[in-house]
Amino acid sequence: MSTVAHEHDHHHAPSGLKRWIFSTNHKDIGTLYLIFSLMMFFIGGAMAMIIRAELFQPGLQFVDPQFYNSMVTVHALIMIFGAVMPAGVGLANWMIPLMIGAPDMALPRMNNMSFWILPFGFALLISTLFMNGGGPAGGWTMYPPLVLQLGDAFPFLIFTVHILGVSSIMGAINIIATVFNMRAPGMTLMKMPLFVWTWVITAFLLIASLPVLAGAVTMLLTDKYFGTSFFSAAGGGDPVLFQHIFWFFGHPEVYILALPAFGIISTIIPTFSRKPLFGYASMVYATASIAILSFFVWAHHMFTVGMPIKGELFFMYATMLISVPTGVKVFNWMATMWRGAMTFETPMLFSIAFVILFTIGGFSGLMLGITPVDFQYHDTYFVVAHFHYVLLTGAVFALMAAVYYWLPKWTGYMYDEKLGKIHFWLSTIAANVLFFPQHFLGLAGMPRRIPDYNIQFADFNMISSIGGFAYGLSQLLFVYIVIKCALGGKKAKAQAWEGAKGLEWTVPSPAPFHTFETPPKLTKAMLEH
């Protein structure tokens, strides 16, 4: 590989389909991830629409209970592994090299592969819906023995989980390798933008937790086909063992979805407050503490399995402790806004909504962490409301904020601010109409994952469904705004936002195909956050 040939490549970026299939460019792969996750968001969303349509009123109207359970299961798998995680990886791909002054990701070919196996993984998963016996219907948590009753879809489900895990682990390795090796001179760890920090920590969570999930589902596979009894009491195993292993992955997974969101919010709020992030160091430490604690709280997802009381107390205390570093983050965001000079463009609106609504999800999380009361909340709609507040109005709102924030850098055009604001208000109102009443449903006694319910739950379910349809429709506006912005509009400056800090704003908008081929010379001002 001569330097000349290398130079030559720059001016002839591959075009057409090949550009995307063989791409090793972090920006193209980032774009692929983001588009893919948007598609998955709509597929998973369509399933949510089916769920809300069936729950619109009591009685069975549209689907039979088995298919309903499939929708509940596949909606979760798609939204978690197909929409939120790839969107986070897409942002990492696009922004981390730009933020640390690197020319690309450290392992570009692996980057290509980690993206391109995703569509195959999801093709497998979605194909199971058409198989004999239907798609996976035992919940995304795949608890045995129920999951072992699945028909032909079972091995495909296991293989899908393996594939998605491999993809995520490769993505995580790439991010760690990039951040530790490719920072521009002068960009010390404690000078990195917080988004980069949250992603490095997330990447370690991925590497530590996903192999555990792979192990658990492989044990399911051998239980079903090779006569082992890891999870069958009849053969000396224990079905609860699966839950312990699953949630040892599952709880860190929650933070895999949430930490990049924290990074995004910590980037956007200072920009539109025109003020440095408050408590940068404590933000880093809080993120790390949350990540470490996340490995010691898994059993709060399974307080009702009948653990010894000492175990229940330990997991209750550990769970409640997480609210301390999380609180620190919320307070830091507030202190960043305090005495700033705020403006309220769409990314800022989504970020403020994130802080409030994620905190509401945190409040219900604290309530759920109190074991004796969790015996009432567990597996009801109160839990459904809780995790949708942290994942939809939390993680997804942060991702929306990020897209609006960096769209000018990606496309070179400003998005339509007016439409962006309409999209924000529609989404925020609809999401609350959708999920707030679910707290009441859960407290009043409606279990989750049921296709039909008693008439006392009818009113709130109808309200919730109306909110659901409104939320779903509002997202079409988002697609329109993004496409409109990609096609043209007001030219974006290199520094698209007045108060924005960071290296990504020193390159032109749209960011050229190759950036920072020689490391940038960092001045003190450029390293401020």
């Binding site: 009685g59 069975l60 209970p65 359970n69 509940v72 198989m131 004999n132 239907g134 219907a137 129920l146 009753q149 028909g151 009491a233 009849a234 079905p239 407050s273 003020k275 440095p276 408050f278 940068y280 160091a281 009702t304 399995v305 009948g306 009381i309 209750m316 402790l321 301390v324 609180g327 620190v328 307070f331 507030m334 806004m337 305090w338 005495r339 700033g340 000079a341 705020m342 403006t343 309220f344 802080v355 905190t359 509401i360 604290l366 309530m367 074991t371 004796p372 015996f375 009432q376 597996d379 009441f440 407290l443 006694g445 994952r449 049921i450 039909d452 319910y453 008693n454 008439i455 006392q456």
Partner: protein
């Protein structure tokens, strides 16, 4: 500042009050009817109040900032970026709050865990999709299925209107009868997959796990009927296996046990008798609705790929398969559970006859209790 704080705290209390007032509308957790459920409710209200106050204070400060610190008001942004003092304060305060919540929670959990000195033990066994209750001291077993009216209304047909049924999906054919003011130990386990046993008014739920037994306790203070549902996804019929507890006085409970045992013995004795086609079909239809319909469907068509059709099937129509038909019902096959333990010979004979003659199967076959008895090992 202190006066603002006071006002905010007062406002928080006022805001939580309506939640208490509208508890009957199904907005809030139920207080329940046991000493424990009351304590759980109180703990819930304490934590709800605490987070509401925190929320009002935190969001209040934030909105104050949003209104006052905006560029359009011409403010110049400050440039401070840390303050060790405030950071220590807002780490310490949440820590103190959660310690304050953890102490009563620990006490309550220890109290809930103590199943000693119970006067009565009931074992609740989850099945796909019903509950079996074994009264261990009284040597009595009952099965609790979704009530017939809910079964009819839960079909996917236009004529079904669940609004007609107040206890839709929350009613059973045989409720769990329990004495009041007695410490009752409730064991939970399951026969096939994991279920969870929950009656909100008792203040807790517990998983029912195949191969393992969890123990819990309750002491009901008021007679009445209390309803709940399975709360762990357990397959297609997860939403259709409610739990109904009927709490009565100790005397009434004892009478009920005696009557139940008597009627079970009578039914077992009469189940051996020959029945006419008419009798078999009527009884068979009832048994089918309670036990078979969830999977094989009202029209006998099953669910493609999961639950085989009975209408027109080899087993339910070919004369040479009568024995196989009976043994499938008695001992189960693949996903199909064994019914030999919970249905008597007469019930199985009737349901087999029904399946061989309903939905156009019209074989004319009559199965009698003696035929079933012959297949029992």
């Amino acid at each position: 500042m202190t006066s603002i704080f006071k006002k905010l705290i007062q406002a928080a209390f006022l805001l939580t009050l309506p939640l208490v007032a509208v508890a009957e509308w199904g907005l809030n957790m139920r207080e329940g009817i046991t000493p424990i459920s009351q304590k759980v409710y109180n703990m819930h209200m304490v934590s709800l109040t605490v987070v509401t106050i925190i929320g009002i204070v935190v969001f209040g400060v934030m909105f104050w900032s949003i209104f006052h610190h905006r560029k359009s008001r011409g403010v110049k942004p400050a440039q401070f970026s840390h303050s060790t003092t405030v950071e220590v304060i807002w780490t310490a305060i949440p820590l103190i709050i959660i310690i304050g919540l953890a102490i009563p929670a620990t006490k309550l959990l220890i109290e809930m865990d103590d199943t000693s000195d119970s006067a009565l033990t009931v074992k609740a066994v989850g099945y796909q999709w019903k509950w079996k209750y074994e009264y261990l001291e009284d040597d009595l077993t009952i099965y609790s299925n979704l009530d017939e009216k809910s079964v009819e209304l839960s079909q996917r047909v236009d004529t079904a209107n669940p609004m007609e049924h107040e206890n839709y999906l929350l009613d059973v054919d045989e409720p769990l009868v329990l004495p009041t003011n007695t410490k009752i130990r409730i064991l939970t386990t399951a026969n096939d997959v994991i279920h969870a046993w929950w009656v909100p008014d008792l203040g807790w739920k517990r998983d029912a796990i195949p191969g393992f037994i969890n123990d819990n306790w309750t002491m009901i203070s008021e007679p009445g009927t209390y309803r709940g549902q399975c709360t762990e996804i357990c397959g297609k019929g997860h939403g259709y296996m409610p739990i109904v507890v009927k709490a009565v006085s100790m005397d009434e409970y004892k009478t009920w046990v005696a009557e139940k045992k008597e009627s079970q013995e009578a039914a077992a004795a009469s189940s051996n008798k020959e029945m006419s086609m008419q009798e078999l079909m009527t009884k068979g239809e009832a048994v089918y609705k309670a036990n078979c319909l969830a999977c094989h469907q009202a029209n006998g068509q099953g669910v493609q790929g999961v639950f085989p059709a009975l209408a027109g099937s080899q087993i339910a129509t070919k004369p040479e398969n009568i024995k196989t038909h009976i043994t499938h019902i008695l001992y189960g096959k693949n996903l199909m559970p064994a019914f030999g333990e919970q249905l008597n010979d007469g019930d199985i004979a009737a349901v087999a006859t029904y399946e061989r003659n309903a939905w156009g199967n019209d074989t004319g076959d009559m199965i009698q209790a003696s035929d079933v008895k012959a297949e029992r090992k």
